[in-house]
């Protein structure tokens, strides 16, 4: 199959989910929506696997010039190693959550609102990861933000509505700051394509301000401390499939854009002081997020604060990128994959627990392990990945970053990474401890809940172990290409 066929598959990635969205919107029957969604999800996984195998075998990025108008006139879509890993992750996690959602919603009304918005979210995620044009990325970001807000608001409770409104305000402000950065870049350089800007970029005040505004906007969107205040409410009050995709992928989309701008597009502007500042914010996020997770009264709130803490790890990698770019890049990609799969599976199992018991107050969840064994098993396996215990993928990611920091001689980041692992184990063992202690009274929980829809989540949890066991194969593949 020659490369133009694979290039057209990028176009399929951006058309098929929209067709699915329109079909799910227009059709009345809920069964048709479910079957259609599962079908489209499986097809998209096949497309992403084919693309990833092409990119990694041939060691060159896939490019699609939309409309045959070359930049700077038109838009180019590029699929390099980093993008193909993110696309693969999106489609596989999307498939797992799609399976889960077919049995999750208690009312058909909520479910029929869920499906079209879900497909818009998937389109936006695909778009962010392939777009090589800064204004096109803005529109994808807006679609991502609006779809996420609408998905949270489906819940209909007062807290969910308020959380989604707050997320909307913060998200719109973040997108507007990003647009201001785009406007300054266009005013200075006159082009909108990533590669052209990378060639033309110089270290002047305008470019510095553009990067500052873009960073501020993306920090809001990926909830880096201290701009994380919207995340715990939004992720804990949404329904479980929505929380899963938000924590696993939507946050990472904002990080992906930020990473590209700092280390591929506007590289002449990056200074040691700036990356160290970002690294310090990441360290603060780890410590603050872990502390709040440890004292959280509810399970989903704990998992949401855990996301705040884990995002800090990704930003601690920024100062390491200055010193050892290739290894840190591999570590970052590994961490994103491990954390994405783990967090999605964790939210899905937390959702099952909440539906089975009726609430998610940690104090009342004693002894749950007897009644919901699969959920607690998934929770335990993903906890090992988040803490960084072998043989999980999280261990490999943290080991790569620690190794990197030690080689670079930056001992304060080493200490931070260690402390982060300890804190994560503290709050995650808290949950497992409660789940396994036998309650004093006779079981108040009358739990008779089938857990078959967690098969997808179990698959994700197993993936986090597999990428831990096959580390050498995966890291060499990513390192040679990304």
């Amino acid at each position: 199959m020659h490369s133009s066929f694979y290039a057209i598959s990028i176009a399929l990635l951006l058309t098929l989910p929209l067709i699915a969205a329109i079909l799910c919107f227009v059709v009345n029957s809920i069964k048709v929506k479910r079957y259609l969604s599962v079908l489209f999800a499986i097809v998209l996984v096949f497309i992403c696997v084919a693309q990833a195998s092409y990119v990694f075998e041939n060691d060159e990025p896939l490019q699609l010039v939309v409309g045959e108008w070359l930049p700077p006139l038109g838009i180019k879509l590029v699929l390099d190693g980093f993008s193909s890993v993110m696309l693969l992750m999106t489609s596989i996690i999307g498939l797992a959550i799609t399976f889960y959602s077919t049995h999750y919603f208690e009312s058909d009304d909520k479910e029929s609102r869920f499906w079209p918005l879900w497909w818009f979210l998937i389109t936006a995620l695909f778009g962010v990861f392939v777009s090589s044009d800064i204004f096109n990325t803005y529109i994808m970001l807006e679609l991502l933000g609006l779809a996420s807000v609408s998905l949270i608001a489906i819940q209909g409770t007062q807290k969910a509505l308020q959380a989604s409104y707050q997320y909307l305000l913060v998200g719109l402000l973040g997108s507007l700051f990003y647009l201001l950065g785009v406007a300054i870049i266009y005013r200075t350089y006159g082009v909108l394509d990533n590669e052209l800007i990378a060639q033309l970029a110089q270290n002047n005040l305008s470019t510095k301000l553009a990067l500052a505004f873009i960073t501020l906007g993306m920090m809001m969107k990926c909830a880096l401390f201290p701009l994380h205040f919207w995340l715990p409410e939004a992720h804990s009050n949404a329904s479980a499939p929505v929380s899963a995709i938000l924590s696993a992928l939507v946050i990472k989309a904002a990080f992906f854009i930020l990473f590209k701008f700092w280390f591929e597009i506007l590289t002449p502007v990056v200074t040691v002081f700036a990356v160290s500042l970002i690294g310090c914010l990441g360290a603060a996020a780890i410590i603050y997020g872990s502390y709040r997770a440890f004292t959280a009264p509810r399970l989903k709130l704990l998992v949401a604060y855990s996301t705040v803490a884990q995002i800090g790890y990704l930003f601690v990698a920024f100062p390491l990128m200055i010193v050892t770019p290739e290894i840190t890049r591999t570590a970052v990609i590994y961490f994103i994959v491990a954390h994405g799969c783990a967090k999605a599976a964790m939210f899905l199992s937390a959702g099952t627990i909440q539906k089975a018991v009726g609430h998610d107050n940690l104090a009342d969840l004693k002894g749950i392990a007897v009644h919901l064994p699969l959920s607690i098993f998934i929770f335990a396996v993903t906890s090992t990945s988040l803490i960084g215990l072998p043989p999980s993928g999280g261990f490999i990611a943290k080991w790569l970053m620690l190794n990197n920091a030690v080689q670079a001689g930056q001992w304060w980041w080493v200490v931070t990474l260690f402390i982060g692992g300890l804190l994560a184990s503290a709050y995650l063992f808290r949950v497992l401890n409660l789940a396994f202690t036998t309650p004093e009274q006779e079981s108040l929980l009358d739990v008779n809940y089938s857990e078959k829809k967690l098969l997808g989540a179990a698959g994700l949890a197993i993936i986090t172990i597999i990428i831990g066991l096959n580390a050498i194969w995966l890291t060499s593949m990513i390192a040679s290409n990304a």
Partner: protein, 226 residues
């Protein structure tokens, strides 16, 4: 207690105002120091203008050179319409009594036909002069809002037909993409001879879709807040 929180509120306000002013000053210095880019792109736009099928450069950029952006913009609008639709359906529609000759109805009787004509003109003239789908759509949406304020029932959002109307713009664009792909095997590459008519086809359906979505957003607040 009260005074201390007031003082801290004042200091917070002063800190924020000074920070924002500093950022604005920096931005201003950057704008003064840095000249605007040389206008190289403009020549390329005008050089290829005859291949696009329209002669208005802004329409060419929107619907040919960077048609992908417009494709996603339709998706954004449809996403918001999908999110807002249940809020309209939740509301029990009150019994509409057409009160005899309310003022708004009188105005509507004069303005709506003229506006529809104007919207059609804006849609058609978009290929040569400033105009196009969004301008026509906002005018049509204004008509629908005026009629709704006059208590005239216009679009019933509970039918499947109205959902087709809302997704019309994106659907038309996808149809064009598929048709064009079967001819040229490229993504959104409009062939030169039919480019103008394809653009008009997309804009036609998009006008109705965008105006229906705008009207939906208005209606859900107007009716829902009674």
């Amino acid at each position: 207690m009260k005074t201390s929180s007031l003082v801290s509120q004042r200091t917070m306000a002063v800190v924020i105002i000074s920070l924002v002013s500093a950022i604005a000053a920096l931005l201003l210095i950057a704008f003064i120091q840095q000249p605007v880019h040389d206008n190289a792109l403009r020549e390329v736009v005008f050089a290829n203008l005859d291949k696009t099928g329209v002669s208005n450069p802004v329409t060419a950029v929107l619907l040919n050179y960077r048609a992908f952006d417009t494709y996603l913009e339709f998706a954004v609008f449809l996403c918001v319409a999908v999110a807002v639709l249940p809020y309209v359906l939740d509301v029990q529609l009150p019994k509409q009594k057409l009160s005899a000759e309310s003022q708004v109805l009188a105005i509507a009787k004069i303005f709506v036909p003229l506006s529809i004509l104007m919207a059609g003109y804006l849609l058609w003239i978009g290929s040569t002069q400033p105009g196009g789908a969004f301008q026509a759509a906002s005018l049509l949406a204004g008509c629908l809002v005026l009629l709704s304020l006059a208590n005239v029932r216009t679009i019933d959002f509970s039918t499947a037909r109205s959902r087709f109307l809302l997704s019309g713009g994106l659907l038309a664009f996808i149809v064009v993409n598929i048709v064009v792909f079967s001819q040229t095997f490229c993504f959104i590459t409009l062939p030169q001879n039919i480019a103008g008519s394809l653009i008009l086809f997309i804009e036609f359906f998009a006008t109705f879709a965008v105006s229906a979505s705008l009207f939906l957003c208005f209606e859900s607040i107007h009716k829902g807040h009674l």
